[in-house]
């Protein structure tokens, strides 16, 4: 393992400190427990809005702290690498940023995140709700009762819900929009290489030069199956098919505009991501989906994994409006 770190135990705090100092106009870092808020967020001057809080294991940067700011998150709770944050982080963050309109947690559907946020929610002394994101359609067999995983689509949900919250909408409305966007989003990932958890010091999985991991999770969890490496178009084609099949299985019609997110896992060059975009957009087009919004880059990563995920989010007027609205965060910014 070769990484720019000093020692594994300080990695997170050093990295967060750098993030907070590079973006000191946008965010404030709090330690013990660890959470980040918008700059100058304080209970004494609460903005009259639902507080939108997300969090999860680290290693997916810019998720979530990179999405703190106007039009998106109020606070983020980063856990250790690939490890859910703990309830005290969520409680303290919620205390710090909530106004009088309640707190909405946006939580990726993993056992650890679910339980830690659940315990925080149980202890929270004021109104709150949770949007569980579960856009990953890689896991085929629905008999597993844990449900789908939340992956790259999470940032789309954070963007849209964050935009709605900014208008002063109430907690129920924010949750409803989050659930709707989640419902209308499907993702699938594919890895060319493994990631290496710094504390583990070696790759999470072994993979030959002739293999890919289809349906991989954003923690390097194994996916649908190990497949032979093929040309990009063939791989993208399978991903697109999986997404189309997923919407079909869930009886969601595709005759609408869509946002296509080609997400890099951390070590895949932009040049390849744009090539993937090119193929995916054409394939979706052939299936009657009009790609009217796009995003290509490293938005929800898995440390240093080489690979990509393809996310399709079916737009309607409301989602489109909240996707397009101004946003000013470290990792996503437009209109201001």
């Amino acid at each position: 393992m070769k990484k720019f770190i000093n020692n594994v135990d300080n990695l997170l705090v050093e990295s967060l400190s750098g993030f907070a100092s590079a973006h000191s106009d946008l965010v404030t870092l709090h330690l013990e427990p660890t959470y980040l808020t918008r700059k100058n967020a304080s209970k004494s001057t609460p903005k009259n809005k639902v507080a939108i809080i997300s969090g999860g294991g680290s290693g997916h940067e810019p998720l979530h702290a990179g999405y703190i700011g106007f039009g998106m998150l109020d606070a983020a709770c980063p856990g250790h690498v690939f490890t859910s944050p703990t309830p005290d982080q969520m409680l303290t963050a919620a205390e710090a940023v909530h106004a009088d309109m309640g707190v909405l947690f946006i939580v990726k559907n993993y056992a650890g995140d679910v339980m830690n946020f659940e315990m925080a929610a149980e202890m929270l002394p004021f109104e709150n709700a949770t949007v569980l994101t579960s856009d990953d359609c890689a896991v085929i067999n629905s008999t597993y009762t844990t449900g789908r995983r939340g992956v790259a689509g999470t940032m789309i949900i954070e963007k849209c819900v964050g935009s709605l919250a900014e208008t002063g909408a109430n907690l129920a409305a924010c949750k409803a929009l989050g659930d709707k966007v989640n419902q209308r989003t499907a993702s699938i990932g594919v890895a060319l290489t493994s990631c290496t958890v710094p504390a583990a010091g070696r790759p999470t999985f072994d993979i030959a030069d002739t293999e890919i991991e289809m349906g991989v999770g954003i923690h390097g969890e194994p996916g649908r199956r190990r497949e032979t490496m093929r040309e990009a178009d063939a791989i993208v084609n399978d991903c697109v098919d999986a997404i189309l099949a997923d919407f079909k299985a869930r009886n969601i019609h595709l005759n609408s505009e869509a946002l296509l997110l080609i997400n890099g896992f951390g070590a895949t060059p932009l040049m390849e991501l744009y090539l993937i975009y090119n193929t995916a957009a054409k394939l979706f087009h052939n299936h009657g989906v009009k790609i009217s919004r796009s995003l290509v880059g490293n938005y929800v990563t898995a440390l240093d994994m080489a690979g990509t995920s393809i996310t399709l989010c079916l737009l309607d007027d409301e989602i489109k409006q909240h996707w397009d609205s101004p946003v000013h965060t470290a990792a996503l910014r437009w209109g201001m």
């Binding site: 250790h80 005290d88 056992a111 650890g112 583990a200």
Partner: protein, 211 residues
Amino acid sequence: MKTAFILSASLAIHAAIVANESEIESLDRAIGDGDHYINMKRGTETVAGMYNELLPLPADEALNKIGIKLLSTIGGASGPLFASFFMGMAKVIKQNDGNNPLEIAAAFAAGVQNIMQRGKADLGEKTMLDVLIPVSTTFTLSAAESKNMAEICSAIKLAADSGLESTRNLIATKGRAAGLGERAIGHLDAGAKSCQVMVYAVCDLLIKGKN
């Protein structure tokens, strides 16, 4: 139950986790995300470091403090679960004092119950419960048969072993490995391995103590 014993056990548990680093770590890499060892190390190390702070406390308070500390230290799936275990155990110890094997077994069972509730999981889902449930049952049964502590511990260790081994051929239906379907078959569950290691550590301490 003596607080001093809880603290000795926590030191033994920490040492045992560290001694089993490579196996625990590689199991979670194989069908998880590779962080389980470091999570367990962080948690058990922190508890070991609470020695002086906990020593003056009654056993139930010590257990509860351990639970609360673990909740804010481990994170991930295992954090809330182990935290729930200790908090559940604390409640019963507060009532029954834990002065004999049956009382301790009842507290242990309450801890396991808490894990089951928090994780909405049961036996056979390829999780830590595949060790903890049989261990709990064996503990209660052996204690009821009035076996001595050494005998109880031997039985528990066997239960832990076979519970761990039982996870090998299971498909996971809870936790991160649930996404893997058949691909999880052939691998032991990392959380089950941690539990087996910790159960061994405490049992060995008890057996040694009786000698």
